[in-house]
Point group: C2
Chain length 468, copies 2
């Protein structure tokens, strides 16, 4: 014991040296410890899952600009206030409300049979007695694009291209024109209606909806998605000869309706004017109860924010949790960026959770920030959650954030395992049972750590991005 | 070469001895070789899968006693004739036709939302404007049975007991009273409608239909199955307080309708009056296209029979392939046994394929036959298919065969992997994509081997069973 003795303070320095070495690269050890504590608390806490259970049970579907979505906004305001957020309020998102009606499709010949379809969001209605027409089937979307003008006159165009199953969901972006532009491209060639294989990876008799966008120079034709097995069936029938289909869609539009974006804050203790914004979207499609799209995101950012709201003192910067309205109809992001354009310079970092509730496996750092103390500490904190840093810089983080990003707001992005996301996305199957509470908690743990470290950081992510 | 030389015939005897040793226990080596050849041919042949593809594509759903089922009977007759069967004909099955109508359910309060339901086969309709009532929810069926008379007056009874996922499907039998007897038991206690969690193991917003049977002494109340996620949702809502539901069902019944049973034969070359009967059912529920229930069975027995029909000479006994009508409505088996009661003594063995298209993993020998040459040769022939002999004797082999079995007809049974059968059974999801062509071929191989060896056998299975 006596052979080699040092004063206590010096001994402490020796022991502390490796820690200090890390600390020089990382955010303060105290911040790291707090982030780790938030992470571990999140893993044990079920507040987020109960939030999601209530949102999907007491509200259910929350189609933008409907009464159901307004009830969701009421509920969200109350819930955020009760959770300790400040400045909880809602902001209007003016928009027309698109309301699904009846949706029926049947093969008339050669073999009478029912088809499972769902109208695309924004689709116009068919005539009241529907449309009866021969189909022209394209197994690849490029074949429709290659079809000559007038070649589809009086026909129902059908595209049955299949979307591949991939972990990061990138195939959805690639397939998106089939739903977004397909109806217009079909109309341009004379088609009187449009059906496409759902942008989905399941094999259930459940169709995937989603918004379509009519191009300004074409006739708006009714458009719907087929379930995967029904698309297969049309392929088999079309291979055997002429196939006639009856389609009835009766959606309606209520003009001058309103969606709502709800937000709450954890006011910064030192730099309250510097805002870290984490968001998700409150609206959902009307077919399921919006559990993975995007109740899970709501639960993740609200639960992460709640854990930070409980810290005394609050972190230096302000944390803002935003639950966007009308994401599915493309209104929320642009409306928010427009309303908050003057404030955009104060939003130091933004991120959105909108890819379900499966585990996060990687994160993308803000551009130029990969070697900063913030990112290094974040990486260390969430490595035990099975999350690694992706070398690519974050270029996007959710559709609601994109318009802010275009105003110069830097983003950070988590990526979740999306292998089964498009089995469920935009369908009646988007219900609570699809969410694993432990995977949801892993998300909340990562978001809490990230949001805390970002609100405690002194870094100017904008400057780092511009220095790239 | 010269050191040890024997006459050719003696050498052949030496080599043949081990085979003869086996042959003494087995059917003739020639029968074994033919059975093995049929097995191997079946594995390479896609006729069965194309049969199933045509049945599900060109006909689709085949609800008993409807025009669609009659079209299926036409098609089946033509197909069996073209495949080389003799004595192809149809036999009428008189019955009422039950036709599904609209089926809508919504939670009225506390949170308005859509529920996915499907009417049980045979259910009466609700009043034209539906039923609005508070639910009484039982998480176990035994709790409904324990409820006092009158305790459900004016209420909708809801049973949410979950059916476990098991390989051999035995949980379905155990859960069956929930669907078969539940409506009557609820009515007996005053309920005005009945909902139950689908007898299904999936978690999709797709409900499982199936026949119900009203007991003669109770009021017939409308009855429907909830999808699993909707049953979960009602559990969560009921746990939070009073829940009111609106239910609308508009099925209709057409009396004096007719289903059809189609059969064909491979006439026996030596004992044409001794019949081996292999069957499946041609009718299906109306929600899907009846691929696994029971298009697969049709394809399996038809393809097995077709391979045997091609043998010259035909096997000794007659092989009869029967595609029953109206199995789902419980009419076909009794009707067939009644019409063929005089002939039952000539049916030496019977079996039905009605459990989808997954691989067979075991077979149950006819009672008393486990050590017979027929069973030993069958076991040897199908061991390479991954099928082992179960020590229990076969006591049943499909609902259509049961009434014949009660008339003394011995049965043999194959068991298939049913782990995912009840994900799909009786739903809109019962479509061709759920069938793996290779697994279907494995079934056909086993059935062809069994049917051939049974038609070549001299065994009296009835005598063996009675000697037990």
């Amino acid at each position: 014991m006596a052979a080699f003795s040092l004063p206590r303070t010096l001994a402490a320095s020796f022991i502390a040296l490796p820690l200090l070495g890390t600390a020089a690269m990382a955010q303060s050890t105290q911040d790291a410890a707090t982030a780790a504590r938030l992470r571990d608390t999140a893993l044990k806490d079920d507040w987020g899952y109960r939030f999601l259970e209530n949102e999907t049970t007491l509200i259910g579907q929350r189609l933008a600009a409907t009464d159901a979505e307004a009830r969701a906004a009421d509920w969200a305001e109350k819930t955020l206030k009760a959770a300790g957020f400040e400045n909880v309020h809602r902001e209007p998102v003016p928009m027309p409300a698109w309301i699904r009606g009846r949706e029926e499709a049947t093969v008339i010949s050669p073999a009478p049979q029912h088809l499972v379809v769902t109208a695309l969001g924004g689709s116009v209605a068919t005539p009241a007695d529907g449309i009866d027409a021969e189909i022209v089937l394209f197994r690849e979307y490029s074949q429709l694009i290659a079809a000559a003008p007038g070649s589809l006159t009086g026909k129902i165009a059908v595209v049955t291209e299949r979307m591949p199953r991939v972990m990061d969901g990138a195939s959805y972006g690639a397939a998106n024109p089939i739903r977004r532009a397909g109806p217009s491209e079909a109309a341009r060639r004379g088609a009187i209606a449009y059906l496409h294989r759902s942008l989905g990876t399941d094999n259930h008799r459940i169709a995937h909806t989603g918004a379509t966008n009519y191009q300004p120079d074409v006739t708006k034709i009714p458009a719907a998605a087929l379930s995967n097995p029904d698309a297969d069936q049309l392929e088999r029938l079309a291979a055997r000869g002429k196939t006639r289909v009856h389609l009835l869609l009766t959606p309606t539009v209520r003009e001058n309706a309103q969606s709502w974006t709800v937000s709450g804050e954890v006011k910064g203790s030192e730099k309250p004017d510097e805002i870290v914004l984490i968001g998700a979207h409150l609206d959902s499609w009307d077919l399921g109860t919006g559990a993975i799209d995007d109740g899970a995101g709501d639960a993740i950012v609200a639960a992460a924010g709640k854990l930070i709201a409980a810290l005394k003192p609050h972190p230096k910067r302000t944390l803002r949790v935003v639950l966007f309205g009308a994401e599915e109809m493309d209104y929320s992001g642009p409306a928010y960026a427009k309303a908050h354009a003057d404030e955009a310079g104060h939003i130091v970092l933004a991120a959105e959770s909108d890819f379900g509730a499966r585990k996060i496996y990687t994160f993308l750092a803000p551009p130029g920030a990969a070697r900063t103390p913030f990112v290094r500490t974040l990486a260390d904190t969430i490595t035990p959650l099975g999350i690694f840093m992706n070398p690519a810089p974050a270029q996007r983080s959710g559709d609601d954030i994109a318009p802010l990003h275009r105003l110069g707001v830097p983003v950070i992005a988590f990526r979740q395992n999306g292998l089964d996301y498009f089995d469920i996305h935009h369908t009646a199957d988007d219900t609570l049972d699809k969410v694993d509470p432990r995977e949801l908690a892993q998300n909340i743990a990562a978001w809490a750590a990230m949001a805390y470290l970002a609100t405690q950081s002194d870094l100017d992510f904008r400057k780092l991005a511009n220095a790239q």
